[in-house]
């Protein structure tokens, strides 16, 4: 079986976000593989280690710089990479069409992607891709194993969590708790340099964007920033309760 792990290159969470000309500007920021997507890469590698005959491919869709992210996933141990170069912002429904086309061409049996991407805060890629392929999905998965042609796992739902079984082929979205992604070792970093990354042009996929991006602003909410010294805990508690009651009026 072939597993496809979809990855996105995102802003390192510790970096501040810069906006230029009405769009987020990442040109001078530190970029990393989205943590949520790393869970998918790691899970694919674990499945390969547990079951013979599994190949792990990673797919990134974005500007040329995303090659670095693909290279990181290869250094974790993925077998090969695919980079669909796209310099324009694409919405998730459009991207799902590209992922589905790649999955069909590569005869993929299982797709992983992050439960929520840290750049566009989207939850939709897994489900939209599954719909295009006519496959079932499990989202927000925090435990997963392969059992013949079924997946067995646990995932979060509105009111708690569920254990499930799911027939393959399928799309699985990840979340924390699924695993601890490995760090690339030095030999694997060296090996990753020789692994294949196939570049494809966006033109090879017949897609028409469904969203227009009109602008972006960094949101700063003005806070009161009233600080209370807590050395005298009773006095601090009294003052805080008084503020909550009489200034903010959030408690009675």
């Amino acid at each position: 079986m072939r597993i496809l792990a979809v990855i996105r290159q995102v802003l390192n969470a510790e970096e501040s976000v810069k906006v230029k000309d009405g769009a987020v500007d990442l040109s001078s920021s530190k970029l990393v593989v989205d943590t949520m997507d790393e869970y998918g890469v790691e899970q694919a590698l674990r499945m390969r280690e547990a079951t013979p005959g599994i190949e792990v491919a990673v797919l990134a869709i974005g500007p040329s710089r995303c090659e670095e992210a693909v290279r990181s996933a290869l250094a974790m141990g993925a077998d090969r990479g695919i980079l669909v170069e796209a310099d324009v912002p694409l919405d998730v429904i459009t991207i799902s069409s590209i992922v589905a086309q790649v999955a069909r061409a590569e005869t993929i049996g299982l797709i992983f992607c992050g439960g929520q991407q840290a750049d566009w805060d989207s939850h939709a890629l897994g489900a939209a891709t599954a719909e295009r392929l006519g496959w079932p999905q499990a989202t927000w998965t925090h435990a997963l194993s392969l059992d013949g042609d079924q997946l067995i796992g646990k995932h979060a739902v509105d009111a708690g969590s569920e254990s499930f079984s799911l027939p393959l082929p399928a799309v699985v979205t990840t979340q924390q708790g699924l695993n601890e992604p490995r760090y690339p070792t030095l030999p694997n970093l060296m090996k990753a340099k020789r692994k294949e990354i196939r570049r494809e042009s966006l033109d090879a996929f017949d897609v028409k964007p469904k969203l227009k991006y009109l602008g972006a602003e960094v949101q700063v909410r003005e806070r009161l920033r009233t600080m209370i010294d807590g050395k005298d805990s009773q006095a601090a508690a009294t003052q805080l309760v008084d503020l909550l009651r009489n200034q903010a009026k959030v408690i009675q």
Binding site: A156, A159, S161
Partner: protein, 328 residues
């Protein structure tokens, strides 16, 4: 029509349904505001919905007794097609955000995720939503006449019921087979208000010291205030609290009237889940904790002393009843 997929649980409409209704009423799009009820034995829910919409479509079917993303998507897409819906409004809950992409693909429509506001621009729909872990507000425009929108919980006010009841219509659906087979369930066991609907959230981080500390500080204060309980990723990863209580990038997003953070340092992933709260309060012994850059009221001190003192203060001088959830 403007199609709202009503969320409900235990025989009652969820708060999100009232918010979706208010969003639909504000939207000047063609056709009646229509609430779709999916479920089994949902008569009471349909009656409640009749006070909100201009019409109510009821799919009362044993196959709809438990949510499933493929079944929900098929049902909503079928109704949207048959009713020629121009706008499909779905709650930004975990399930809503899970099946809405399938609806968009089925209808070949754009998807706007987690909208906080929207308005007409000619025939198109423009919306605002947060990106980059809720640090950026992005403005987008959906191309096409049909659009699927999920609405971020808490972004719209709660709709007031109409004085007259709308007509209810039964609908027949062609539903697919369930492929995700649920083999076990762990329900969130909480007698408190739900985390995403609560007006006050009391949340704890590793700074509370231990699972026992969490119980004595966070849960006790929450119960005193009639609040929901939240936790940081570190607390959940340590096994002190269940995932269902986690607030942040990988957990729930909340925007209550007040968020009280106890022993939470304020990692950016946590802030992304609660940074839109109307009022933020933090108690932490580290004056340099990043959370203090985001607070309205910050107390620098020992949570082990300050929180019990707060609880005593609230018990000794109760002015009246504590705040309760306003939707019934």
């Amino acid at each position: 029509m403007i199609l709202i997929v009503a969320e409900h649980a235990e025989g009652k409409l969820s708060k999100s349904t009232y918010e979706l209704t208010e969003a639909a009423r504000q939207l000047k799009r063609e056709g009646p505001v229509t609430l779709l009820i999916l479920g089994n034995q949902v008569g009471a829910v349909a009656t409640a919905a009749a006070a909100l919409g201009e019409q109510v479509l009821v799919a009362d079917n044993p196959a709809l007794s438990e949510y499933d993303p493929e079944i929900w998507a098929a049902a909503v897409a079928q109704i949207a097609r048959e009713g020629e819906a121009n706008t499909i409004l779905i709650a930004g809950s975990r399930s809503g955000r899970e099946y809405s992409p399938r609806v968009a693909v089925k209808l070949d429509a754009p998807l706007i995720e987690d909208a906080i506001s929207f308005h007409e621009a000619g025939d198109a729909l423009q919306a605002e939503h947060y990106t980059f872990l809720s640090r950026v507000t992005e403005r987008i425009q959906a191309e096409g006449t049909v659009v699927v929108v999920t609405i971020k919980p808490g972004s719209f006010p709660v709709a007031q019921p109409n004085t007259s009841l709308a007509e209810q219509y039964d609908v027949q659906l062609e539903l697919p087979q369930r492929r995700l087979i649920v083999t076990g369930q762990i329900k969130e066991k909480t007698e408190r208000v739900s985390l995403v609907e609560a007006e006050i959230v009391v949340a704890g981080g590793r700074g509370v010291g231990s699972p026992e500390g969490f119980r004595l500080l966070v849960e006790s204060l929450a119960d005193q205030l009639g609040a929901a309980v939240g936790a940081t990723r570190a607390v959940v990863d340590s096994g002190w609290r269940p995932y269902s209580e986690q607030v942040g990038q990988t957990g729930k997003t909340v925007q209550p009237k007040a968020y009280i953070a106890i022993g939470i340092s304020g990692a950016v992933q946590h802030l992304s889940g609660m940074g839109k709260s109307k009022l933020i309060v933090a108690i932490n012994k580290d004056a340099d904790a990043p959370i203090f850059r985001e607070v309205d009221y910050g107390v620098v001190g020992d949570v082990q002393d300050i929180v019990p003192a707060m609880i005593r203060e609230l018990q000794q001088n109760p002015k009246s009843e504590t705040t309760k959830d306003q939707v019934h």
